[in-house]
């Protein structure tokens, strides 16, 4: 892509993304309010004692006594000013809540994603290079195994093995609280906690990418330009790297763009199993507590991230594949 067209492209995409996200906000608003129960009744249910005055107080405080459309208008107006609202249940701004919980999720999904792509592409490339051999079969079987096993179950097995039996890694949490670690020690500490959840979340996608890479590499290997390279005497290894793999990565990038966003949704399970203080659990707990502003905020946030990921992939794709005219 011509770099000079980047600003215009970003603007166009920005406008489009804003429209999609606005639509998501509005429809989510109605969807969430369609859920039975409201934050007041949940709080009443949890506090062990309640009366009607208590409920009315809470509803007034939460703004739930206003007509639904007015609530929507208040919310959308806030969103336009980039105000994600306020969680009365937690007495905190939604933005602050999300800001606390987003980095762990990004760290987890980012590492899992990097693992999935690097591991998947490597395995897939190996399998494709040795297609039909035992190595190919082994990789295919491993990939299928990860693909077919429920993610929370994998997590449980990993914990059993590495935390309980071997005692190598912590079984939950993001860091050793209270150990008062600093600098490199703190980073290593988080790293140790990160291994199991990232592996659990990543393994499924390793399988996905391994299979995709293998298939596309085999397909690309059949194409004319590979024959051209061979005819001009390019060594096999170089053909694989420079000609086959690069072209085979295009569909991988496309899929990665779609999945990067979905990974955040998938992290709910992993965050639950590993007590990872991320946004997926925040959403799940907000859903159970009917904490509308938080839930909407998370939806907004994850949708925005999907949009950003898609944009990023499109740009990446355009960088790798010169044929692509990035479409606004």
């Amino acid at each position: 892509m011509d770099p000079s067209r980047l600003p215009a492209f970003l603007l166009r995409r920005g406008i489009k993304a804003a429209i999609v996200i606005l639509a998501i906000i509005v429809s989510n608003f109605f969807l969430i309010h369609a859920a039975p129960g409201d934050p007041a009744s949940v709080m009443a249910g949890q506090s062990g004692a309640a009366d009607e005055r208590y409920l009315a107080q809470l509803r007034t405080q939460f703004g739930l006594d206003k007509p639904l459309l007015e609530q929507l208008w208040i919310y959308v107006r806030g969103m336009l000013a980039l105000d994600l609202g306020y969680s009365h249940r937690q007495q905190m701004g939604v933005a602050a809540l999300i800001w606390q919980r987003l980095p762990p999720t990004l760290l987890l999904t980012g590492v899992a994603f990097a693992l999935a792509i690097s591991g998947g592409v490597t395995l897939g490339a190996l399998a494709a290079r040795r297609v039909g051999t035992w190595a190919d079969s082994v990789i295919t079987v491993i990939a299928l195994t990860f693909y077919a096993t429920p993610i929370f179950w994998v997590g449980l097995m990993l914990v059993l093995l590495f935390s309980v039996v071997l005692g190598w890694l912590p079984s939950f949490g993001m860091n050793s609280v209270g150990a008062d670690l600093h600098g490199i020690a703190a980073v290593l500490d988080v790293g140790r906690h990160l291994i199991l959840p990232a592996l659990t979340l990543g393994l499924f996608y390793v399988a996905v990418y391994a299979r995709l890479t293998r298939a596309t590499m085999l397909e690309v290997a059949d194409q004319d330009f590979v024959k051209t390279a061979r005819a001009k005497g390019v060594p096999e290894g170089r053909i694989l790297r420079r000609h086959v793999l690069r072209n085979a990565l295009l569909p991988v990038i496309t899929l990665a763009g779609i999945q990067a966003g979905q990974l955040i949704g998938g992290s709910i399970l992993v965050e639950t199993v590993f007590a990872w203080p991320g946004i997926g659990r925040l959403a799940f707990e907000a859903l159970l507590a009917r904490d509308y502003p938080v839930l909407l905020g998370v939806f907004f946030c994850t949708s925005a991230m999907v949009v950003i990921f898609n944009l990023f992939t499109d740009l990446l794709y355009a960088m790798v594949d010169p044929r692509v005219e990035v479409q606004g």
Partner: protein, 535 residues
């Protein structure tokens, strides 16, 4: 000494193929500074011969016997790494499809540079030199371009530049011009000829087109079913073919019209197209679109019983024009009078009665038949849609199969069980089933081998005669147009630049573009000998 000697080469086919060997006992020599054309129809084994030389045969096609000597080196004795070093440096190859033969993600300069680099040759401006040597304008910016920015002809030049990078002794060209337009083809042929003469390279040139053979070959080898059936100098083989297969192939090459020729039929217009315009826009809601004027200034008319040939290169708009007439494409402007009624503004429903009367034959025999339907249904489907009882339509389909000379047993078979020529006959039968008045044939023979092409053209001529059909015949092949059409309309960039009776247009082209097209017909200087009717 010969650059390349092939002796008794035999390549096996996998078990279950229709014959045991892809090629059998093939012996050839290519001398320094000469062009050897290997000619034959698809499946004759000519490409396998070329790939065997390069050592690029897939594992499923093992080399069983024979010797391959390149410039004194016994290729079969070379280990894979040595073969790799020979490829690109001592022998090089260019392929048929310039659109897919280059890595889409690499700049063309880098791809040529890679050919140099893997053989340890420094670049230092050599890439641009090579690009200049194949007559590409502005080598600097071409080198920086990705393949998709280049036209087919430019890409084929890049391929040639890449093949020539290390000045190989042998150049193998596998149908290098088949995918190109006629004017580009001529340029490439001349380029190969020129470079070969300048450098004394030996060229093994594979083609199916006797026109190309006549244009370029020093010597010719004819292949059929994996064997060489005839070889000799170009003059001998072209003018005095001995083997019945060679004779059949040459007989099938369409000749030029002998006389001036006049319009055959006179009567009222069946079709009159006026002021038609079709523009394609690209782009979405927010981006500025691109515009392509596919058709404009393309008025013509067709008289009853007449055949009008619409000729031009790819992208000239001839197919779009034809599709406008059958309303597969909706033009923005103009009138399409069919039998006095303007078809352009008609709704889908209002168009339906006219569908019976105007039918189309498509180019690609593989893509034009629904692979999931039986042949009988494909043919009967049109009449059934228009209310003919099913049994009656199927009965008529059976008759039509006989008319297009296919076995009635074909009714219950699927298209993929038929060869390209047979499929094209099915396509013709499907069009005829509607008893159309106007038949639009869009490059109906361009995907077929030359012998099959001749048969299909003969069939079309016969049917046209019998059913008194009016026909709009679209082709890029001027030889074919000359054989089939009464009048010719030449299209360029969406406009008809010249039209008139065939003889007149061929003999006295009025427009420079027409002249250019005529000049580009390969082997124009060669008139196929009169070999009489087939035995």
């Amino acid at each position: 000494m010969s650059i390349l000697t092939i002796e008794g080469l035999t390549v096996a086919l996998p078990a279950g193929a229709d014959r045991p060997h892809a090629i059998e006992d093939v012996s050839l020599t290519v001398e320094r500074g000469e062009i050897l054309c290997v000619v034959g129809e698809s499946g004759s084994g000519k490409s396998i011969t070329a790939n065997a030389v390069m050592g690029l045969l897939p594992k499923s096609l093992p080399l069983r016997a024979g010797r391959l000597i390149l410039d004194g080196i016994d290729l079969r004795a070379q280990p894979p790494e040595a073969m790799r070093k020979l490829r690109g440096s001592r022998m090089a190859m260019i392929f048929q499809e310039p659109m897919t033969a280059l890595n889409p993600l690499m700049r063309v300069g880098d791809q040529i540079g890679e050919a140099l680099a893997v053989h340890g040759a420094p670049d230092r401006g050599r890439v641009q030199e090579l690009l200049a040597a194949v007559n590409l304008p502005d080598p600097v910016s071409i080198a920086r371009s990705h393949p998709f920015r280049l036209s087919g002809g430019q890409r084929q030049r890049v391929m040639i530049a890449m093949a020539l990078a290390l000045e190989p002794a042998l150049l193998i060209a596998d149908e290098p011009t088949t995918a190109l337009d006629v004017t580009t083809q001529m340029q490439i042929l001349r380029l190969i000829r020129e470079i070969q003469q300048r450098r004394g390279t030996g060229v093994l040139f594979i083609t199916h087109d006797f026109g190309v053979v006549a244009e370029i070959a020093d010597r010719v080898a004819v292949m059929q079913h994996g064997r060489i059936v005839e070889h000799g100098t170009a003059r001998e083989v072209l003018d005095r073919p001995q083997h019945p297969y060679t004779r059949a192939l040459i007989r099938a090459v369409p000749g030029f019209p002998k006389g001036g020729g006049v319009a055959r039929a006179q009567g009222r217009d069946v079709l009159r197209v006026q002021g038609l315009e079709k523009t394609y826009h690209r782009g979405g809601w927010f981006s500025a679109g691109k515009m392509l004027r596919a058709v404009h200034d393309a008025d013509f008319s067709l008289t009853r019983g007449e055949t009008l040939g619409l000729v031009g290169e790819s992208g000239s708009g001839k197919s779009t024009l034809a599709r406008c007439v059958v309303r597969l494409v909706t033009p923005e402007k103009g009138e399409i009078y069919f039998d006095g009624a303007d078809l352009r503004p008609l709704s889908r429903a209002a168009m339906k009665p006219f569908r019976r009367r105007v039918q189309m034959i498509f180019q690609d025999p593989y893509a034009s038949l629904n692979p999931r339907r039986k042949v009988g249904e494909i043919i009967a489907e049109g009449p059934i849609t228009h209310g003919t009882p099913r049994a009656e339509a199927l009965e008529r389909a059976r008759d039509l199969l006989a008319i297009v000379r296919l076995d009635p047993g074909a009714m219950d078979r699927y298209p993929h069980e038929f060869s390209g020529g047979q499929r094209q006959r099915i396509g013709i039968a499907r069009a005829l089933a509607m008893k159309p008045e106007l038949l639009i044939a869009d490059e109906p023979v361009s995907a077929l081998d030359v012998s099959v092409q001749a048969e299909v053209l003969a069939l079309l001529a016969e049917i046209r005669e019998r059913e008194k059909l009016t026909m709009l015949f679209i082709t890029h092949d001027l030889r074919v147009a000359a054989q089939v059409c009464d009048r010719i309309a030449v299209m360029q960039r969406g406009a008809i630049v010249e039209q008139g009776p065939v003889g007149q247009v061929f003999a006295n082209p009025a427009h420079p573009y027409t002249q250019q097209l005529l000049d580009s017909i390969p082997g124009r200087a060669w008139t196929p000998p009169d070999l009489g009717e087939a035995a």
